[in-house]
């Protein structure tokens, strides 16, 4: 019995409520994701933006429960109406692929080196849909054409090491799309690629997402990438959402000092000739978080309140929310 992959009545494909993920080992207990909530409508693209260790990848992987055994998940995760946190292993296997699929960061290592691309895609289709290998192979070919791999018929019999990075990432996308997921998770899919290939892959993903009407969660540390693909953006810092909102509004008028810092440290056309401004300090130690705002030690606008009381994510305007005592957005006081 395949799992139902249709969105819930109100059109949401994923709903995450107060998600927390901690990694528990014998001598360490680290809270990596803390109180993250969001909903994703069918066909929407959400971008999780943040630096290394901000919890964006863990948040995304929680949707598939694709985490190491030391992870403890709290809160509620609904994907296509199924409670992921309560699923058995068997149910998870049917969730991964047909309902939600994932594109990995490293196309170099995400394929098994001893099987051809075609075999790996076809085997996945066979195992989920129980169709014949021949039919699955024919569909693998269609998929390679869909992701615009040139001479797809020949590439079907290619081993992963025979393809270039860009082609391999396209093949990876084809593999993720092989069971027609309603939700696509992309974990920095362009980070390992050349700059020229990056934009091609982004445009492809955006186009596929629109054509197939897939909801997509995009994880990246690159604001440029976020602008290119996202409808909405959620900025993460220290395992929490610090700012959420429509991408154009957030870029035009960032409300959280961290978002401002991220934008100031990125290259854009207007900044030509001007020196980039880095955010002072380093990312917080997740095992030893400050009691107040986790960004306070690096923040230029901090007050004593920031060190004592943790700001909560509060709406500032339609569709936008920020977790800050002193949002920089003019006229907005939480």
């Amino acid at each position: 019995m395949p799992l139902d992959a249709t969105p819930a009545r109100n059109g949401t494909i994923a709903e995450v409520n107060d998600l927390s993920v901690r990694f528990v080992t014998r001598d360490r207990d680290v809270l990596v994701v803390d109180g993250v909530s969001f909903t994703l409508a069918a066909g929407e693209v959400l971008c999780l933006l943040g630096e290394s260790g901000s919890g964006k990848t863990v948040t995304m992987r929680s949707l598939l429960r694709l985490l190491p055994p030391s992870a403890r998940i709290g809160g509620r995760i609904d994907v296509a109406g199924h409670d992921v946190t309560a699923m058995s292993d068997r149910q998870l296997e049917r969730l991964r692929g047909p309902v939600a699929a994932m594109v990995f960061q490293e196309p170099m290592t995400a394929f098994d080196p001893v099987f051809t691309i075609g075999t790996q895609i076809a085997e996945t289709i066979v195992s989920h849909e129980g169709i014949s290998y021949r039919a699955a192979r024919a569909r693998a070919l269609e998929l390679l054409e869909l992701v615009q791999i040139p001479s797809a018929a020949r590439r079907l019999d290619a081993y992963p090491h025979e393809l270039s990075g860009g082609l391999r990432q396209r093949a990876m996308i084809a593999l993720a799309l092989s069971c027609r997921p309603a939700l696509l998770l992309a974990d920095e899919p362009t980070t390992a690629l050349d700059a020229t290939v990056q934009i091609q892959i982004l445009l492809l993903l955006r186009q596929l997402q629109r054509d197939l009407g897939m909801a997509t969660i995009f994880v990246t540390h690159d604001i440029g990438v976020a602008c290119e693909v996202a409808d909405r953006v959620a900025v993460m810092y220290g395992g929490r959402f610090v700012e959420t909102g429509p991408i154009d509004q957030v870029i035009a008028q960032p409300a959280h000092p961290y978002t401002v810092g991220l934008l100031n440290s990125t290259v854009h056309e207007i900044s030509r000739g001007a020196p980039l401004v880095p955010i002072p300090g380093g990312p917080p130690d997740l095992a030893d978080m400050p009691p107040g705002c986790s960004f306070a030690p690096r923040c230029s606008a901090k007050s004593t309140r920031c060190d004592e009381i943790r700001p909560v994510l509060a709406p500032i305007s339609a569709g936008r929310a920020v977790a800050c005592h002193h949002p920089t957005l003019a006229g907005a006081k939480p």
């Binding site: 598939l64 694709l66 292993d89 068997r90 998870l92 296997e93 049917r94 969730l95 991964r96 692929g97 047909p98 699929a101 994932m102 990995f104 490293e106 290592t109 995400a110 394929f111 098994d112 080196p113 001893v114 099987f115 051809t116 075609g118 075999t119 085997e123 996945t124 195992s127 989920h128 849909e129 169709i131 021949r134 039919a135 192979r137 024919a138 569909r139 070919l141 269609e142 018929a153 079907l156 019999d157 081993y159 090491h161 990876m172 593999l175 993720a176 092989s178 069971c179 027609r180």
Partner: protein, 301 residues
């Protein structure tokens, strides 16, 4: 759902050809690499000759390997129609050498094949599941590993008693620990690679990951290692026979022949050395072949 059902039917015939299974599999590649290696070919030919002559011995040499004659003891090679002479009981050396190949080859291969199946399975299970399962399996293996292989084989054969079956069992037990270790370490390496995670992300369960991805990535290294054990197995088996713990007297076995001809080494040195030459030739061929296999197995080579 629409693309899969309509998609296949709508495919033009030219595209349908692609649906044929791929023509250049891993094994075909391996074969091509091996055939380009001159040493490998020579070794293959020697081993094939020994194996075929052992299998078809009754038709190749008409003499009875067990027929003794006090009148024709220790004849030098070539005399009175005996191509390789006779042994200390007047039996035809050539016949006995060919028949002996049956025992030696099966004693080389059977324990290694058995140990690869058992040890490989244990190692893959230990490596894949890790933690307590790994602890349990690998620590038991370590106990066996603590003894030198020859000593373990001798002790085991001594306990079980002489005989071909018993030395086969003891040799299998000797080879399980090293193979399990190799399998375990390779599996642990492969398990932590991204593609296993990626397979899981497409909904593959533990069983599918083990049977497809683990097995395919782990067989290469295990087979290469196992092939290097064949020569060791032949030598230890011959050693057991030589010590009287393996094949028992009337049976033709290279190790046993070496032992019984020992007293005759000053009278008929050539005859006495022949079984040793066979052991040497076979094990060296297996060793070199295993080296070539190792080179050819490298997928990216």
């Amino acid at each position: 759902m629409s693309t899969s059902t309509t998609g296949l039917a709508a495919l033009p015939p030219a595209v349908r050809k692609v649906a044929r299974p791929p023509g250049r599999s891993f094994w075909m590649r391996l074969g091509r690499h091996l055939l380009r290696d001159r040493v490998a070919i020579v070794c293959l030919v020697i081993l094939l000759a020994i194996a075929l002559s052992a299998i078809f011995a009754p038709w190749l040499v008409p003499a009875d390997p067990y027929k003794t004659s006090m009148l024709r003891r220790l004849l030098p090679p070539g005399e009175r129609g005996y191509l390789l002479g006779t042994d200390e009981l007047g039996r035809d050396m050539l016949t006995r050498l060919l028949y002996g190949g049956r025992v030696s080859l099966s004693m080389g291969l059977a324990p290694v094949v058995l140990a690869t199946l058992i040890g490989g399975a244990l190692g893959i299970i230990a490596g894949y599941f890790g933690r307590q399962v790994n602890m349990l399996i690998m620590r038991v293996i370590d106990v066996f590993y603590a003894f030198p292989s020859v000593l373990l084989a001798v002790a085991m054969a001594g306990v079980l008693g002489a005989g071909i079956m018993n030395s086969l069992i003891s040799l299998t037990l000797v080879f399980i620990p090293p193979i399990a270790r190799v399998a375990e370490s390779v599996t642990t390496q492969v398990r932590n690679q991204d593609f296993v995670e990626a397979a899981r992300a497409t909904g593959a369960g533990s069983w599918r990951i083990i049977v497809e991805h683990m097995l395919a990535n782990v067989t290469g290294p295990i087979l290469t290692y196992a092939s290097s054990l064949v020569s060791v197995s032949i030598i230890i088996a011959s050693g057991l026979s030589f010590l009287g713990l393996g094949a028992r007297p009337p049976i033709a076995d290279w190790g046993l022949m070496l032992n019984t001809l020992r007293q005759a080494v000053y009278v008929a040195p050539l005859n006495a050395v022949l079984p040793g030459v066979m052991i040497f030739l076979t094990s060296v061929s297996f060793n070199l072949l295993s080296d070539s296999l190792r080179t050819a197995m490298d997928v990216r080579a």
